[in-house]
Symmetry: C2
Subunit: 304 residues, 2 copies
């Protein structure tokens, strides 16, 4: 175990497998399995587990069972269970269900805002404004996802000032946390550093920034390390690399939590998460999904 | 494209797929395919391609066709085709075949020296001494591989002073280049930095150091980036991540050249290698081997 200079002593991993991960898997997973997954992740030591999304089932059928998943989970003190909420209707449901952490899902590019939200970036911010405002009034924490921060399938490379502009608007709306997404996995370390430098120069507190890398081109862990060297201390990852089959045409899985934990443990960085328990959970889930985990650490440690 | 401070403008990739990679694949590949692979890699822009090994076929049957592979290749000026040579008998064959670059294969640990060379570390250095000496007299370049630099399956974590001791001996024997191998893929960035710092403090010129990471735990690219930030400018990688099936029990593939090229291109670092041509070659080879490439970049760009 050897430290590198300039790295934090502790990193919070935000486990996004149950929502972001499973939403992008082709297999359908019953609510009972989703709830068991969340419980297992908490048992492994996770303290932030993105659980589900209160989205209209017409848009995301994989999340139609959100209320059942939430009801099945024995929410424990000290653990955060953020839930994706797109609009006021979703927020009303979240309040009724006792949700204490929500997330809104913004885009740094017009093309993806149009494709994903059927709105311009400006219109989506207008939609989020009352949601974030009321959620904060009720004492909730609000994560603002920002997709396509480095590249967009329609627009190519996304200019840094454009990302900074949307990011500062989300913070101004009252988001307590910003998750910078490399949704198509194209970023490399120099571009990660450039965006983080620009965001902090624009007054976004580095403590409010989370990084969310996809491993499409194998860059997720290098990018994460670069972000940690720039003061970031919260990292999104999904158990076993859930979220996009690595053998399909467009391999868009998230950074695997296990690959991240291997690196952080080697660097002497505490996460509070038990790698062996997580590998056990990812192996269990890979069996249910009928395919091997794309995480190299899972494959090495699970021996299959 | 954004630079990071402290990185080199140019990196030499030593392509190890044809020897190190194929030697560790379960499928048997005919000499004609091996030769075509080498030619394709050179066509893609590689200027250092580890081609084969002149090893007794009893020990490494996959290399029994070494002479045929070398005869089939149209060796071009300006391209280096290093060949693994374990002893004087191998060196004699190398000289007869017009080989200009050789490599010897040492170990940082007693357990692996015993398992791989049936010798102690000291005995293996004694075996290499006349080989390196005579190779240098005939004008050859000599790469000294050093395996198990960070971890060993029998001995666990390998102490830095032990690695420095063998490394400085290899340099003293006359090796012009040292390839530091993370043979079981366990290293993390802090330990990479610690070893590089210790080697340069011991007088090993950083220009003579190559890093050779395996991606068993998904750490290879982060480790490589760390080495580049410490002044290393030569990196071993294998086309498509050849060298150990990712779906087998022990996933020990090399860093995939394509994943490395994606990162270096994004960082504005020149390699002279054409990523698209390389992806084409790795896809061709994966078809022949009957399994998908473990490289995430190959899968993303080849669309399969």
């Amino acid at each position: 175990m050897d430290q590198l200079p300039g790295l934090p002593a502790r990193v919070t991993v935000c486990e996004v497998g149950p929502r972001d991960g499973l939403q992008n898997e082709s297999a359908t997973v019953p609510a009972s399995v989703k709830a068991e997954l969340v419980e297992r992740l908490v048992d492994a030591g996770h303290r932030v587990v993105e659980t589900t999304g209160l989205v209209h089932p017409k848009w995301v059928p994989q999340l139609a069972d959100a209320e059942e998943v939430l009801r099945r989970i024995d929410r424990r003190p000290g653990v955060r269970y953020p839930v994706l909420v797109p609009n006021m209707r979703g927020l009303d449901r979240a309040v009724d269900l006792g949700v204490e952490d929500i997330a809104v899902f913004g885009s740094a590019t017009e093309s993806f805002a149009r494709a994903n939200l059927n709105r311009t970036v400006e219109e989506s911010l207008e939609m989020f404004a009352p949601v974030v405002g009321r959620a904060r009034e009720t004492g909730m924490r609000v994560r603002g996802y920002l997709s396509m921060c480095w590249g967009d399938p329609w627009e190519g490379e996304v200019p840094v000032p454009q990302v900074v502009s949307v990011a500062t608007r989300l913070i101004a709306l009252g988001c307590t946390e910003l998750s910078l997404g490399d949704t198509i996995g194209v970023a490399t370390p120099g571009r990660v550093a450039a965006l983080l430098d620009a965001l902090t120069a624009a007054g976004v507190p580095v403590e409010s920034i989370t990084v969310h890398f996809h491993d499409t081109y194998g860059q997720a862990l290098s990018n994460t390390l670069t972000a940690l060297r720039h003061g970031v201390t919260t990292v999104d990852a999904s158990a076993g690399g859930l979220g996009g089959c690595p053998y399909a045409k467009s391999a868009t899985g998230n950074l695997a939590t296990e690959d991240l934990l291997w690196q952080l443990a080697g660097l002497g960085i505490d996460t509070g998460v038990d790698l062996d328990k997580l590998v056990e959970t990812s192996t269990w889930l890979a069996d249910l999904l009928g395919r091997p985990s794309p995480s190299r650490t899972v494959r090495a440690l699970a021996g299959g």
